[in-house]
């Protein structure tokens, strides 16, 4: 289960970072070799990213982070780089779901005042990002309860392996459903 409280250093990014920025499509031949693929994270858009990012860092972006392709490899290689969470003003829908499915928390709040290198503390359950450098407490849009459970249980695959279905009302009477 993921920690409810995360702490890490902010790595600032801008607006409209696409999945082609995160992991360019031309590396699709490496998608069955994840360690090799991960070496190319942000290669075109942010040269030097792999040496700049450290374990437990938190990516802080502006608007529409992760727009574009459905490639789940985008949050996957971000996670493999050591990133603990993504905080953004807004996130493209498919990226959001993919990140949660990979057990990478995504929090949505006003990131304008967070500076590169600020120490952040994230309370996942309460949906609050605290900027320990400035003292600001940022309220996040609440994560759907199902998504919070999926991220806390380490992602969609462990979640389904455990529950064999989705824990939402009405699910238990369907064909494979063993949920509550």
């Amino acid at each position: 289960m993921s920690d409810i409280i995360l702490r890490g250093r902010a790595v600032r990014l801008g607006d409209n970072i696409s999945t082609d920025d995160i992991i360019p499509g031309r590396f699709a031949h490496l998608r069955s070799n994840l360690p090799q693929l991960a070496g190319h994270v942000f290669e075109d858009a942010l040269p030097g990213f792999t040496s700049r990012v450290k374990q437990a860092d938190i990516l802080v972006a502006g608007r529409n982070f992760g727009l574009g392709s459905s490639r789940e490899h985008a949050p996957l290689v971000i996670k493999m780089a050591g990133v603990k969470a993504v905080v953004a003003e807004s996130v493209a829908r498919i990226f959001y779901r993919n990140a949660i499915n990979q057990g990478l928390p995504v929090l949505l709040c006003d990131t304008g005042e967070i500076s590169d290198g600020d120490e952040l503390e994230i309370d996942l359950a309460r949906g609050v990002v605290s900027d320990l450098a400035s003292g600001a407490k940022l309220d996040c849009s609440p994560m759907a309860p199902l998504m919070l459970t999926i991220v806390q249980e380490g992602g969609l695959i462990p979640y389904i392996r455990k529950h064999r279905g989705f824990l939402v009302p009405g699910e238990s009477d369907q064909e494979h459903g063993h949920g509550v």
Binding site: D21, R26, R31, S32, N33, A45, S70, R97, A144, G170
Partner: protein, 417 residues
């Protein structure tokens, strides 16, 4: 209060009331993968530990993004996917059969279906009245196992269309104009629904172009009602029995309504490196092009090749501009051969690529060189999209693409005789 198309379909497939904002678990009629997202989906499916897939008939694997393969790793991914299809008995299409979204339209999607694909342009099937959306590999793997998935029912923006497209203004121009208007994140988490008196004159291929690009405004789905036009298309594909009329309720609640008169549209171009960076063609005329690419799930259909062949007939491409054409499917290629479009395109100097994704995503067949500019009929112009971050990609209609191939620079198709 009545229901939008998204609410109607999700209510039916989840057997709940399914109002915007609700979380529902819905039956999935078709779950599919393509060759760059499929291998991860297969591995995730195996991790789940289910003894088999829920319904092999509701699953499909498409080999289209790197087809034929350009490197051994992708060839090996194709082997993995063929093996999965063999084990599960699901549908699979081969190299050269075409782009997944075109094949979903030709062979699978029906009004009222829920379609999920591990490709962002899975929204395309909304043209046939399906709730169709893109997801990642894990979500589709779970849909393989369970035969259903969860959704938050989206709020809907209604796009109310009237009038007719002027000469050489295409559905693509509507899509680019709309995205420029709404913005690349203007419909995030929302559905776009298309309505209005213009629909009765909009063909299914035109609807496919528009629905395809809904995701470029961030939308979860882009849905057309199912009407007589839909029925005729399904009949033409030998699938008339899958038709049922489907409309939103008259008193459905929309977040907002955007009204557009097609007659006021102009040929539109999206400038590098954002799809919502859309301007009228006149604002960008004269930009020199080293490559023009006509094809993809957005504009590789028979009507698209027809307008290109019409503009290029009896003429030659500019000597400094390569012209690549990829039909969206084997059916499109076959019909274009029969209609003489392929001959006209080849005589004009076009390279015909195999049906599939072609040069769109920078894996093979038309990767751009440093500093080169390409005008493409695809749906994305992000930096690096066509294999080179040092290249520039402009998006436009097949008419603008063909006109520009003649002159070697971005050209208003209305100015070509």
């Amino acid at each position: 209060m009545g229901k939008t198309l998204a609410e109607r379909i999700l209510a039916d497939r989840s057997q709940t009331d399914a109002r915007a904002g609700d979380t529902v678990v819905a039956r999935v009629d078709l779950a599919f993968v393509q060759d760059t997202t499929g291998p991860l989906a297969v591995r995730q499916f195996r991790e789940l530990g289910f003894s088999g897939v829920a319904r092999p008939d509701g699953l499909a694997v498409f080999l289209d993004h790197a087809a034929p393969s350009s490197v051994r790793q992708l060839s090996n991914d194709h082997i993995l996917l063929r093996g999965f299809a063999g084990e599960t008995g699901c549908h699979i299409t081969e190299v050269g059969d075409g782009v997944c979204h075109q094949l979903v339209a030709e062979r699978f999607a029906r009004p009222g279906d829920v379609v999920v694909g591990s490709d962002s342009h899975s929204v395309t099937a909304g043209a046939l009245g399906a709730f169709a959306t893109g997801m990642g590999s894990s979500d589709v793997a779970v849909a393989f196992a369970l035969g259903r998935t969860w959704f938050r029912v989206p709020v809907t923006i209604l796009i109310d269309l009237k009038g007719d497209f002027p000469r050489r203004v295409c559905a693509k121009d509507l899509a680019l104009y709309l995205i420029g208007w709404i913005g690349a994140d203007g419909a995030t988490y929302k559905a776009l629904e298309f309505g209005g008196e213009a629909l009765s004159r909009m063909t299914v291929p035109q609807r496919l172009t528009v629905a395809n690009m809904a995701v470029e405004a961030g939308a979860k789905a882009g849905i057309f009602p199912a009407d007589e036009v839909t029925r005729e298309f399904l009949v033409s594909q030998g699938r008339g029995d899958g038709y049922r009329p489907l409309h939103a309720d008259g008193d459905a609640e929309y977040e907002r309504v955007i009204s557009l008169n097609l007659g006021e549209l102009e040929p539109t171009v999206s400038l590098p490196h954002a799809v919502d960076n859309a301007v009228a063609v006149g604002r960008t005329a004269g930009v020199k092009l080293q490559q023009v690419f006509i094809g993809t799930c957005t504009n590789g259909r028979l009507e698209d090749l027809a307008v290109a062949a019409d503009i290029l007939a009896g003429k030659k491409r500019h000597p400094g501009t390569r012209l690549l054409v990829a039909p969206a499917s084997r059916q499109v290629l076959s019909q274009a051969l029969e209609a003489g479009y392929v001959q006209r395109l080849v005589d004009a100097g076009a390279v015909i690529l195999p049906p599939g994704c072609g040069a769109c995503l920078g894996l093979h067949q038309g990767v751009l060189g440093d500093g080169e500019a390409c005008l493409s009929t695809a749906n994305r112009n992000f930096r690096g999209r066509m294999g080179n971050p040092e290249a520039m990609i402009y998006l436009a209609s097949p008419a603008t693409a063909a006109a520009s191939a003649l002159t070697g620079e971005i050209t208003d198709p209305r100015e070509v005789v």
